[in-house]
C-alpha cells in the first residue's frame, strides 16, 4: 500500500482518461450523487454526504471536504454495461422478398470507473457471471465491459441502509478493481490490485505506507462494519426462503408493495430484460430492441396471454426468492450485494432486511440443487440467421409444419427448440418437430400475429431462425426398457423426432407405446406418419380425442383414461409433452401405475423469450427453462410444478 496526497487525484484522473477513456465516477446531479461521466476532480461530490432511510434520500453538506464521504446513489455501473435500452439488430425485407438481419454493435468506448464501492464491485462480478460466464455470452455486454479500468474506494462511512458486511461483499475493496483508494483527510492510501493498477500507481507521487497507515485502514474497516445498519442472517438463506414459499408475510408485504419495479431497476445485479419489435412505418424493416424489464411487471410472467404471476404477492415472492434464493443455485452466489438501493429507492419504504427476517422466522429449509458449472460458454448475439421454407404441410385447420432449409442444426437433439422470427412482427420459441439433413421441421399452431404469419409462409419465402436451444429428451436413458410416450395436442411436435429415432432403433427400444390425446380426430397430428409406425414390432399407438362425431370409432376421452386401462409396468420410463394440467394428471396416473417421478420427463411451458437464460422470464425456481430445460426429469421440478404464481 502507498500513501499519496489527495491532490494526486488530479494525476489519477489524467491517467485514467488517457487514450480517450471516458471517466465515470460519483458526482452531484439532480439532488443525488449519481454515477456519471466526469472530467475534473472538482466534479466529485466534495463535501457532500447522502443520508438515506427507507424510501428517502437526502444530500447534506459535510463539515469537511471529503470526496468519497458518501455511500451509493440511485444508479450503478450496471447501466454502463447492460444498457437500459439498446438495439440488438435491424431486420429488413428487401424488395426481392429476401430477408436480412444486421447485428447492431455498441460503439467501443473504453471506460475508467472511479469511486466504486466494494458492494458495487461485487455487483459487477455478479453481472459478469450472468452475462459472460453463463452458457451463453452476451457480446453487447462484453463489448461495453471489456478493457474497463476500475478504481475502487474502501467504504469508511457506510449508510444506515448498508449491509454489505452481511452479504460478505464489503466494506473493503479486495478484488475486482485495479486500484483501491482510502481517503484520509488530505491523504490517499492507495493499493494496487492488478498489474494495470501497479502501472497506474507507479505513475503517482506516492510513498510506501507505514505500519500505522495499515493499522489505520484496518481500524477504519472494523469501524465501518460496526456502523453498518441492520444485519441480514444469510446462513442457508436461499434454502430458508424456498421453504417458506407460502409464508403469510408475502400477502402482507403485497399490501404495501406498489409493484412499481423501482427496486429491480436500481438493483446493480438485476438483469431481466424484454425484447420488442420496433417496426418502421413502411412495414419493411424493424429493429429488435432490448430494454430493462422487471419481474414486477405483468408482462414479465405472461404466458399465452395470461399472467402467471397476477398477484403482487407472487411477484414479490418471485423477486426475493430469486435474488436471495435461486440465484445461488444458478450463479453460485447471492444476487444481493447489500448496497441498500432497493430500500432507499422504494417509494413504499419497504425494507428488504425486515422482509427477509419476517419471511424466514422459522427453521424450515428446502434444499436447492447446487449451481451447474458452465464451461461451454458461447457467444450469443441474439441475431437470427436467414432460413428458407422448403415445403409446407397442413396438419390440421390451424396447424402447419414448415420444412426449413437452415444452417446450424447439426447438433440438434430431439426436444430442443428454435426461435423463429419475422421482421416487424416478432420472434417466438417453437419446438423442432423433425430434422433431415440440412432441413428442419417446425410444427406451428396459429395462435397470434407471429404464428399466424408463420403459418401463412409459402415455399421459397424466408424467415429468421436461431437455435437449436435447450435440453432435449434423454434418449440414452430411455433405451433398454419399456418406454411410454404421452402427448397432448400439439405437444406431439417436440416428441416426433424422438419417436422417429426410437422407432428406427428397435434393438434399443423394444417396447414403445405412444398415448396421444387431441381435441378432435381432425386435430390428430402426423396421422399418416403414425399409421406407418404401427407395423413396427414392439410399438403400439393409442390415440384418443376429447370430442368426435358418432362416426369416429376410436377412443373418446382424456389420455389418462387410456393410461389407466393399459398395464404400464413399473419398469417403464415415460416422456410427456402437453399442457401443464394434462402433464400433472399424467404424472399422477403414471405414479399410480408404479412409475416414479425420477423416471418421468416432462417439457415445461414457461414464458421463454430470449432462449439464452438472460431475459429472466422463464425462470422456474433454480432453473431457466430455456437453457436448463425445456425437458426436465419430473423430480427436478416436482415441488414447483403446477403451483400457482411460481
Amino acid at each position: 500500500m502507498m500513501l499519496a496526497r489527495r491532490a494526486q487525484l488530479e494525476r489519477l484522473f489524467e491517467l485514467a482518461r488517457e487514450g480517450g477513456r471516458a471517466l465515470i465516477g460519483p458526482t452531484v446531479r439532480d439532488g443525488a450523487i449519481v454515477f456519471a461521466e466526469i472530467e475534473r476532480v472538482e466534479q466529485l461530490p466534495i463535501g457532500w454526504r447522502d443520508v438515506q432511510s427507507p424510501g428517502k434520500y437526502r444530500l447534506e453538506r459535510r463539515s469537511d471536504d471529503a470526496a468519497f464521504g458518501h455511500v451509493v446513489g440511485p444508479n450503478s455501473a450496471k447501466e454502463l454495461f447492460f444498457a437500459p435500452s439498446e438495439t440488438l439488430y435491424r431486420a429488413e425485407r428487401r424488395p426481392d422478398g429476401k430477408l436480412g438481419f444486421t447485428a447492431h454493435k455498441p460503439p467501443p468506448t473504453a471506460k475508467a470507473l472511479i469511486g466504486v464501492r466494494a458492494c458495487d464491485l461485487a455487483a459487477m462480478r455478479v453481472q459478469d457471471r450472468v452475462f459472460e460466464r453463463s452458457q451463453f455470452r452476451d457480446p453487447q455486454y462484453g463489448a461495453r465491459r471489456a478493457d474497463t479500468v476500475v478504481i475502487g474506494v474502501h467504504c469508511t462511512e457506510p449508510g444506515s441502509l448498508c449491509f454489505c458486511s452481511s452479504m460478505g461483499t464489503g466494506p473493503r475493496v479486495t478484488e475486482g478493481a485495479d486500484l483501491a483508494l482510502a481517503e484520509r483527510g488530505d491523504e490517499l492510501l492507495v493499493d494496487a490490485l492488478s498489474p494495470r493498477g501497479e502501472a497506474l500507481l507507479a505513475q503517482l507521487e506516492a510513498t510506501e505506507a507505514s505500519a500505522s497507515d495499515h493499522a489505520w485502514l484496518d481500524a477504519a474497516m472494523d469501524a465501518s462494519r460496526a456502523r453498518m445498519g441492520t444485519a441480514v442472517d444469510v446462513r442457508d438463506l436461499h434454502e430458508r426462503l424456498y421453504a417458506n414459499l407460502d409464508h403469510p408475510r408475502f400477502a402482507e408485504v403485497a399490501s404495501r408493495c406498489l409493484s412499481c419495479s423501482s427496486c429491480t431497476s436500481v438493483c446493480p445485479t438485476c438483469f431481466c430484460s424484454n425484447a420488442v419489435e420496433r417496426s418502421d412505418l413502411d412495414g419493411a424493416a424493424s429493429s429488435r430492441v432490448r430494454e430493462w424489464d422487471s419481474c414486477f411487471t405483468r408482462e414479465h410472467s405472461t404466458l399465452h396471454g395470461h399472467a402467471v404471476r397476477e398477484q403482487t404477492s407472487e411477484r414479490y415472492r418471485q423477486w426475493i426468492t430469486h435474488k436471495f434464493g435461486a440465484w445461488v443455485a444458478q450463479f453460485d452466489s447471492s444476487g444481493c450485494t447489500g448496497c441498500g438501493r432497493c430500500i432507499a429507492w422504494c417509494p413504499a419504504q419497504i425494507d428488504v432486511r425486515e422482509e427477509l427476517a419476517a419471511l424466514t422466522n422459522n427453521d424450515r429449509r428446502t434444499p436447492l440443487p447446487s449451481a451447474r458449472s458452465c464451461d461451454a460458454s458461447q457467444d450469443e448475439t441474439l441475431v437470427p440467421r436467414v432460413a428458407e421454407v422448403v415445403s409446407v404441410a397442413r396438419e390440421s385447420g390451424d396447424v402447419v409444419t414448415l420444412r426449413l432449409r437452415a444452417e446450424g442444426f447439426e447438433s440438434f437433439a430431439p426436444g430442443q427448440f428454435s426461435q423463429l422470427s419475422l421482421p416487424a412482427i416478432g420472434e417466438a420459441p417453437i419446438s423442432i418437430s423433425g430434422r433431415d439433413g440440412a432441413e428442419v421441421e417446425h410444427t406451428i399452431r396459429a395462435v397470434g400475429a407471429l404464428t399466424d404469419a408463420l403459418c401463412k409462409l409459402e415455399p421459397g419465402e424466408q424467415l429468421g431462425v436461431r437455435g437449436p436451444y435447450g435440453r432435449g429428451w434423454p434418449l440414452d436413458e430411455l433405451a433398454g426398457g419399456p418406454v411410454v410416450v404421452v402427448a397432448g395436442g400439439i405437444g406431439l411436435a417436440p416428441l416426433r423426432e424422438a419417436l422417429r429415432r426410437m422407432i428406427a432403433d428397435p434393438a434399443r427400444f423394444t417396447d414403445l407405446r405412444l398415448f396421444y390425446g387431441a381435441r378432435t380426430p381432425d386435430d390428430l397430428l402426423y396421422a399418416r406418419e403414425m399409421l406407418g409406425w404401427v407395423d413396427r414390432p414392439g410399438f403400439r399407438l393409442y390415440a384418443t380425442v376429447d370430442r368426435a362425431s358418432a362416426t369416429w370409432r376410436g377412443h373418446v376421452g382424456v389420455v389418462t383414461r387410456l393410461l389407466k386401462r393399459e398395464t404400464v409396468g413399473d419398469r417403464a420410463r415415460a416422456i410427456i409433452c402437453g399442457p401443464e394440467t394434462m402433464m400433472r394428471f399424467t404424472v399422477d396416473a403414471l405414479a399410480r401405475a408404479g412409475v416414479p417421478h425420477d423416471r418421468v420427463w416432462v417439457t415445461m411451458e414457461r414464458h421463454m423469450k430470449c432462449a439464452t437464460g438472460l431475459c429472466g422470464r422463464c425462470q422456474l425456481g433454480p432453473y431457466f427453462v430455456c437453457k436448463d430445460g425445456p425437458v426436465f426429469r419430473f423430480d427436478e421440478v416436482a415441488s414447483l410444478f403446477g403451483r400457482q404464481g411460481i
Binding site: P74, S261, S279, D282, R298, A348
Partner: protein
Amino acid sequence: MNAKPRLGVFKLASCDGCQLTLLGCEDALLALAERVEIAHFPEASSRTDAHGTFDVALVEGSVSAPFQLDELRSIRARSKRLVTIGACATAGGVQALRNGRDVREFIETVYASPEYISTLDASTPVSAHVAVDYELRGCPIDKQQLLEVITALLVGRRPEIRDESVCLECKRKGIVCVLVKRDEPCLGPVTHGGCDALCPTFDRGCYGCFGPKERAPTSALAARFARDGMVPVELVRRFRGITGGAEAFRTESDRHE
C-alpha cells in the same frame, strides 16, 4: 394492388389535443399517409369523408352528450378496429370530475342559456358503450405510442405497449426519483407508462395522466403520501385529476373524501 387501409379520426367530448399529437407526427404523418388513406381527420383537413367503413378508427374524447352515443355506435359499426386515444376516451377525462355531482347545477352556473345544453349525467369512456380494440392512454397521447399502435395494427401484431409503471421509464432514463429525494407526491409508481417519464424528467411529480397501471395499489402510495404529511383533502385532489374517472384512482380519491 389492394386499396390502402382507410383510417378515420373521430372526436367526442375532448379538447382535440390528442388529434394534435397525430398532426404533430409531421414527417411520420407523411410516411403514414403512404400506407393508409387518411379519409377522415377534421383537425387536419376540412376535405374529409366521415362516411363509409374504416379499417382503423381513432376515437378521441368521452361520451358526454346523448348525440355522441349515437355517433359512437355508428363509428363502431363501420370500423374494423376501434382505438381510443387519450384520457377522455379511455377514462372519461377531466370532464368525468362532474360524475356523481349535480350536473344541472353546474350547467346553470356556467351557461347563460342552460336550456341549450343537452348533456348526460356522467362523462364516460368509450369502452363503457362499445367494444374497444385498443386503448391508448395519456393526456395527450404519446406520439411514439400512437405510431406504434398504427404500425402494429397494419402488420397485424399486438402493439408493443407495456402496462408498466412510470418508475421503470424514469429508471431507464436515469431520472432521480423525485418522491424519494424530496417527498414530491408522484403518482408514477401506480401510473401506466408511455410518456417517457415526461414530468419527472422536468423534476416534477407524475400526476397520473396515463391513468392507473394494472395492479395499481393506490392505497399503499396514499399511505406514503400521508406519512409525508399529506392531508386527506389533498389526497382526494391527487387522485382526482385528469384520469380521476378511472376505477383505481376514483376509489382512492373517494376513500379520502
